[in-house]
């Protein structure tokens, strides 16, 4: 059904799209197809592009912090790389939970490819840029990607739905706990990387407080404002 052909760039892209489209259709065969070794680069490319696409969709944060065009492009690339790292971490967490709760013997690297493929719906994250519909699209893509992860877990671990649900939810929760405990130095490194790549202090972390920030910078304290 899915032929893995990476002999030329054209075939690589064709195979990558076929796998991504299969994952988006939640087709178990697509996840089965990436089980053999040698598909790592394809999955890495999908996750990287999903990361770039997500940064485009959320680019209001970079614009709000007045990141220069060159730095903007670099930030896109950095987020692609950070997305790859995040797949390693989330997969590790899910794999650990599955091992403890359900005593699975699937190797970590096996799960890694399938979990990576579940990021495929996020290739469309650039649509989050759309005004009005963007926020809804963002949520829909997150749910879509989560569903793809459940299919991946069912395929690679042989889980039934509730087991896949427990592993993915607990796996996600463990990552959140780690973020605020043992993982704090890594979060600090991530922020530092984002800051030096953007070339500015990323004071605006989300658009939620943008009005207050603009009023503070340009009206209450104009010297710190737009020049």
């Amino acid at each position: 059904m899915y032929t893995i052909d990476t002999t030329t760039i054209f075939h690589f892209l064709q195979t990558m799209w076929a796998l991504a489209w299969g994952a988006m259709r939640l087709d178990p065969a697509a996840f089965k197809a990436v089980e053999p070794a040698g598909t790592g680069l394809l999955i890495t490319a999908i996750v990287f592009l999903a990361g770039v696409s997500e940064t485009i969709g959320q680019s209001v944060v970079l614009f709000a912090n007045r990141v220069k065009p060159g730095r903007f492009a670099l930030s896109l690339l950095l987020n692609g790389i950070l997305f790859i790292v995040s797949v390693f971490i989330l997969t590790g967490s899910i794999w650990g939970i599955a091992k403890v709760l359900f005593h699975t013997d699937v190797p970590y690297i096996g799960l890694l490819r399938e979990a990576g493929l579940s990021y495929a719906p996020l290739l469309f994250s650039f649509f989050v840029l759309l005004p009005y519909m963007g926020i809804f699209i963002n949520r829909a893509l997150s749910v879509w990607s989560f569903l793809a992860l459940l299919v991946a877990l069912k395929v690679v671990m042989g889980f039934v739905l509730w087991q896949a649900l427990i592993c993915s939810i607990f796996g996600w929760a463990l990552v959140q706990v780690l973020k605020y405990t043992l993982g704090r130095p890594f979060v600090a490194i991530e922020r530092w990387l984002r800051r030096i790549t953007a070339g500015v202090n990323l004071a605006v972390e989300s658009p939620d407080k943008l009005i207050e920030t603009i009023i503070e910078q340009t009206i209450d304290n104009p010297k710190g404002g737009k020049s």
Binding site: S59, V60, L62, F63, A64, R66, V67, K68, P69, F126, F127, L129, L130, P131, Y132, M133, G134, I135, P207, D208, L210, I211, I214, I215, T218, I219, D220, P222, G225, K226
Partner: protein, 336 residues
């Protein structure tokens, strides 16, 4: 064969609309980030809100009250209004002596430079404008679509804070051109037709803290979201036509205007009695037969809804610090 061709055309059209939508926030975002050269040729005295704020107050405003008109999504440039809009503003202006009327603001760009100004697609917009002047209106829908997306940008909680800061600056420039002095506390009224309603409310977010003056907004078929700018609006008068389905879009599309969210800026304004809805009669969104121009049918029947609307707007403008009541108005209940 024909069906497949039509489907292909529809597909291409959909892709183009999506592309326009995706690119729509970039103009204002690029402006804020300093990517565009928007401010390079801008007169120093007429700058962004920051410039206004830091400027020393040296005198009194020339007029006792100011009105700024913000056109609908069919607008091409600040210096190009439809003839019915011009006639409407002329009539209003004649009835409000001592009030300065600003009518050259283009609310769908950060620099008051219309679509036919220095832009990448200037030739395209100029071509559409020429067609419009010849009454060939099909291509004008591209202008409507472009500006509709800008209204959506203004209403979007992610982009709105930046977009509305830009339009607040453009409105301030317009006020200053008519002699408004920042800090004088002189009240002003924003009149927004259609999408201009959202732009007016969005800009109020910053005009409030900058000018520290009473702001009232009059909308004609205004399409608005639950914008945080409502917090700075002293009173909103919403004129709506009975045959106007467009003005209801904001009520349907933005959850913050639904009764289930009583703490949204819109519902708070409603609960505080700061919104008055005025039925202008069986008028449509567009003219003739809309808010500005009588249709032949209305003429034949001797119906003068547009004149009555002008009378009421004049009444509101003449009472900028009061709440004006009309016998047949509808004071919306909270959550309506």
């Amino acid at each position: 064969m024909i069906f497949s061709f039509i489907m292909q055309l529809l597909g291409i059209g959909l892709i183009l609309i999506l592309l326009m939508g995706l690119l729509s926030p970039l103009e204002s975002m690029g402006w804020w980030a300093g990517w565009s050269d928007v401010d390079k040729d801008k007169p120093k005295v007429a700058g962004t809100p920051k410039d206004q704020e830091t400027q020393e107050i040296t005198g009194q405003s020339e007029a006792g009250h100011y009105v700024v008109y913000l056109s609908g999504i069919g607008a091409i440039a600040g210096d190009f209004l439809e003839k019915e809009e011009i006639a409407f503003l002329d009539k209003v202006e004649a009835c409000v002596p001592g009030t300065a009327v600003v009518r050259d603001v283009f609310p769908y760009a950060m620099n008051n430079k219309g679509l036919t100004g220095h832009r990448t697609f200037r030739s395209l917009w100029q071509w559409i404008k020429d067609l419009k002047l010849k009454n060939k209106l099909l291509m004008s829908n591209l202008i409507n679509l472009r500006n509709l997306f800008q209204v959506a940008v203004s209403a979007d909680r992610r982009y709105g804070p930046i977009y509305n800061y830009g339009t607040a600056g453009v409105i301030l420039d317009g006020l200053r051109r008519k002699g408004y002095v920042v800090g004088s506390g002189i009240p002003f009224t924003l009149i927004g037709y259609s999408g201009g309603g959202q732009i007016a409310v969005g800009a109020a977010t910053y005009l409030g803290p900058i000018l520290k003056a009473p702001i009232q907004i009059i909308t004609l078929g205004g399409v608005m979201a639950d914008d945080p700018g409502f917090a700075n609006v002293r009173h909103l008068y919403q004129f709506h036509g009975e045959k106007d389905p467009v003005q209801a879009l904001g009520k349907v599309c933005y959850a913050g205007r639904w009764p289930i969210l009583p703490h949204s800026p819109w519902n708070i304004a409603l609960a505080e009695g700061r919104i008055t809805v005025i039925d202008v009669g069986p008028t449509t969104h567009n003219d003739p037969g809309g808010y500005f121009l009588q249709s032949e049918e209305q003429k034949a029947k001797g119906e003068h809804y547009q004149d009555r609307t002008i009378d009421r707007i004049v009444e509101i403008i003449n009472h900028p610090t009061e709440v004006v009541s009309f016998s047949d108005e509808k004071q919306l209940a909270a959550g309506a």
